[in-house]
Each structure stands twice: as C-alpha cells, then as structure tokens.
Symmetry: C4
Subunit: 176 residues, 4 copies
C-alpha cells in the first residue's frame, strides 16, 4: 500500500478499537502463586489514547479474554468502553458499529494475533503491532515500529492525528 492510499484510509477514521493482550500489553501475563494475574501497560500509550480523545476520537477495547485486570487500566486511560469475552470479535464489532453510528470504513483496529483477523478484514484501517504474527501483519494497512505495550498504541494515535492534521492542536495543551 502506498502512502497516499494509506493517508486516504486514515483520514476517514472516527473510532479506534484496540485489542488488549499483545497490543496494550507486551503479551505477557504474570501469574502469582494464588492464581492472580497482572499485566504490563505503558504510560506513553495512555497519553496516546488521551490525545485521541482530545481530538474527538473515542477509543474502545475489544478482547476475547476477561476484563479483570483490564477494567482498572481502562479507567485510568479513560477509554470509552470495554468489550470483554468477545468471541467471535466480529459480533462485538457489529454492536459497536450500531451503538456509535460509524461504518466499518471509519474504524481503526489495532491487533496482534489470529483472533484479530476477522475484525481486521472488515475495518477501514487495520493496524498490526511490530510483534504481531505473520498472518496479521500481512493484512494490515500499517505495521507499527514499536512493540505492543511499548508504545505501539501511541504510534498509532500519532499516525492518525498527524494524518488528520490534528496533532498540532493536540500538542497545544502542553505548551501553555
């Protein structure tokens, strides 16, 4: 895909949907001896979601897993909503399209693994993180340079805001 084609896709984006494990995290799950799990998130990604929100683009989390650890991070990141235990993910996508009155072509989805394929084939801007599996990278319109959980979501947010000419406006709040 050339840059003009990519830029055209990005300009249409009104909503961002993020997979969680491997995208907002680096794919690792910490288990302790009592069976509780913990996950790594990245503070730079959090600012990316915040900047999207400032520019009027909502962020939604979509995962095939549960929302236990996730809901706390989601609250701190001020994401719009979480769709957890979503199997297949396309059912949740149908609900999102209806609820937020957007069409597939206006959605950016960031994914990393096979379970993301069905959604990525439908949305207007499918993005794969650097650590995504080959099948996911192949159908992505853009592959991030940064790893999931290490800035990939921030990179995606900046890509969208810059292509839409909203980056400078978003930055203004930091230059007061």
């Amino acid at each position: 895909m050339d840059n003009i084609q990519l830029s055209g896709k990005i300009k249409k984006i009104k909503l961002v949907i993020l997979d969680v494990d491997g995208v907002l995290t680096d794919g690792r799950i910490i288990y302790d001896s009592k069976g509780r799990d913990s996950k790594f998130f990245d503070v730079h990604d959090g600012l990316g979601v915040y900047l999207l929100g400032q520019a009027g683009i909502k962020t939604i989390l979509l995962t095939a897993k549960g929302s236990g650890t996730l809901k706390h991070r989601a609250k701190d990141m001020r994401v719009e909503e979480i769709y957890a235990d979503a199997v297949p993910k396309t059912s949740a996508l149908d609900k999102i399209v209806k609820k937020y009155s957007v069409s597939d072509i206006e959605i950016c989805f960031v994914g990393d693994d096979l379970v993301d394929l069905s959604v990525m084939k439908r949305v207007g801007l499918p993005i794969a993180v650097a650590n995504a599996c080959d099948e996911v990278k192949e159908i992505a319109a853009y592959v991030t340079k940064k790893q999931g959980g290490r800035g990939a979501v921030r990179e995606a947010a900046e890509l969208i805001l810059k292509s839409q000419g909203k980056w400078e406006i978003a930055l203004k709040i930091f230059n007061k």
Copy 2:
C-alpha cells in the same frame, strides 16, 4: 539434521511435553517480600497450545519444580496435565508414555536446561528454546528462533501443525 529428516520426525508427533521455567516462561522468577513468587507467561504461547489441542495433539507440562504458580496458568491454557516435582524427569516420561499409550518417538519435548537432557535424549522430537544452554541445543532436533516465554512454544506448535498439514485447518476457526 536436514529438513527432510526433521520433517519425518515431526510427522510422527502425537503428544507435546513442555518444560516450564525458561520454556513457558523467560526463566525469571519474581519474589516479593513475603516470599511469594510470580512468573511471566506469554499469551501467544497460550494460543499455540490451544491450536495443538484443536488438531488433536495434547500438551503436558513437566517440571522439576513445584506447581504453585503453574497450576493456575495451566488451567487457563487448557493443558492436559501437569507433572510437577518430577526428579528425574524420565520417571514422569515413563508414566506419560504408559498413560497416553504413545511411544517415545511420538513425543515432542521442549526444554532449556541441563535437567531436560535425559528426557530430550529419549523423545522423537527434542526442541530447544533460543535461550537454552549449549548442552541442550546440541542434542535438539530443532532450536526455536523465539525465546522461552516470548513465543518459543507458539513457534514449536506452528512447526508441528504446518509439517503435519494441519495449520490451515486450525486457522479456519479464525476466518469465520
């Protein structure tokens, strides 16, 4: 070992046995001030074990250490069984061979350290992870490109499924 020889070994595999520390984890153990330990697992590896199961290949965990933290992760990964505190590991291998009615040659074992040597010398497909010690790599039929706890088990699962012609079938569930 050439590719044809390796492919021949893989085609016979009916059961996968995984060491835990250094294979399903990156070898790190987190200790807190109360002595509780935690370990890092990888969500991509989990999907690898799931895909093996879909193709009729069971996965068993075999560790010389205890099963405290492990049993919770094992449940989430839907592995068949855990053999913990297994010293020497070959005794557990004897039990597995009997219980699952498989022969050594039909077993793949993934290991990383000296304690895995005795089992690796017996099974049909001994795999070493990228971070394995030299002695383990030397007797392995295949050394993964990915590190333990960072996709090595997923890589092993894909290797087996692709060589056995089961990869495309496994992928079908993600393309509905």
Copy 3:
C-alpha cells in the same frame, strides 16, 4: 549544542528535578486483578540520587500522576520531596524555585514525554531520556544513552558530578 556550552549549563546546576514514569521507571505500569499498580525502579538510579545528595545537590520528584507507589520508592531513594498530581508542572516549578531559593537556570529537569515540555523550556539544563518522544528530545540540552528506569538518572547524575568536578570526591566513600 557544543560541549563547552553544555558544560557551562551544567556547572550552574544546584537542584535536580525528575519526572517519574518513563524517567525513574521504564514507563510500564503493572496492573493486577484488584486494580493495584506496581512500577519498576532501578537500583543504579538510586545510587545516582545518593551521590548527588553527597555532593550537596538535592533531588525532587515531579509528576502529573499520583504518589501512591512512588512515595515508597522516594523514601528509599532519599529524595528531598515529591510534587504529585502536578498539572501543569510549571506551577510546581514555581513553588520549587521559591521554596529552595534557586533560579530556573540552576535547575536540571529530566523528562520523557509531552507533559514535560513546559518545564523543560524553562530550566537551565533540560535532559531527555533515551526513550523520550521526539518533541522532548528536540528541546533537550542532553539526551541520555540509557533508558528511563534503566540507568538514565544515574547517567544524568554522573554527568553533573563529573562536569562540576565532584565525581572523584563522591567516589571516595567507596574506596575506604
């Protein structure tokens, strides 16, 4: 900026202010299933802050986030004071300048992200960590080779102490 110019700026430094996430940590936040967060700090950085203190240079932490996890680490590192929930950060800078009777030009600030820009534009020695975003690196007088949470603060401390001719004195305590 050439080395003489940089050296001139460093010689004036009497106080060091550190951002926290991404500077004293690698930017990752661990969430567990109960919503508690943990962060990674680096023992080498701790010794850097200690050496600054031995040379009469106080260290202050300045973050836009809360001080929950931070206050425990700060105590162990013997930093002078924490300014948490500081939005915008320049308001806290005003308080610090007044309380410690220093001028902007006598302050070193180490930052990594957009929220640090306003403070970095004011202080005499703005330092960016290796993992800082581009906008922060561009206005920094010095960019550390080490990553935040992996020695960047230690590197900054050594830079200041060596330029001020205080490094050898600081080392004396380890050669008894």
Copy 4:
C-alpha cells in the same frame, strides 16, 4: 589479563560471594502501591549455584541492602548464608574469611556497582557482570557476557567449574 593468568586465579577459588541487586537480579526493584518490593531472579542462575555446591564450593550472598525479599529466594537457591545491611562490605568479608577459614585469594566475588569496589580489590577473583558500571569492570579479572539476573551468575559458575575440571562431574547427575 591473559587467559593463563585468569585460569591460575580461578583454580584457587574455594568460595563464591555474590552481590544481589544487579547481579542475581537485573537491578530492577518493583514497588507496589503498598510499598512492598519485588525482585526478578533467574532460574538458570539458581542451577549455577546448585552446581557449585555439588562441586564443594559454597555460595554466600553479600548486600548493602536488607534481606526482606532476598531471604526467600536464597532459601530456594540453597545458598550457604546471607550477609545483609553490610556497610561497608569489607567488614562482612572479614567475618566470612574467618568463619569459612579461607583467604582472600581463594574467594570469587561477583559485583556490579561502586559499593562493590572495596571487596573486589581484595578478593582473588573479582568478576563484573555485563551491566556493571565502568569503575567495576575496570578492576574485574573477568566480565561476564550475560547480564545480572539473566545468567551472569550461571556463567561465572560454569567458568569456575570448567577451569577447575569439575564441570563434567557436575553434569553427570543429569545424564543418569
């Protein structure tokens, strides 16, 4: 130092003393919101200490910090003894020399930071980990290729056992 000189030093070693943070760990300390700290240890290092023990070489931990988190890991690794809160470290070294009836020249010490300098100058085999600060590397007889907390101690153990001709004997237990 040439290999013959190094080999001569290693052959004399009867006791190994390890610094903890940055040597048995990667130098990171995890703080949670309640102020509890956790640390990363490496399972491969644990086997290194075990192999030293099998060959009659005891391992002692020596840290300027407290023993909270450490004592649990030390127990699992079967180290001989912990000297915590040891400032300066040479005082603890004096006690160790007396208690274990060894001379300085028969001791290997593995360190990473400035607080280790005084001990490293005295012992027969001072080893620096790959992530040690420059001052420590400069006075080391050997610098490990592996990082602290990621196999550096295992590498040091193998170096000693191989130079002393005890490696093959140690391996025998894994080839039964």
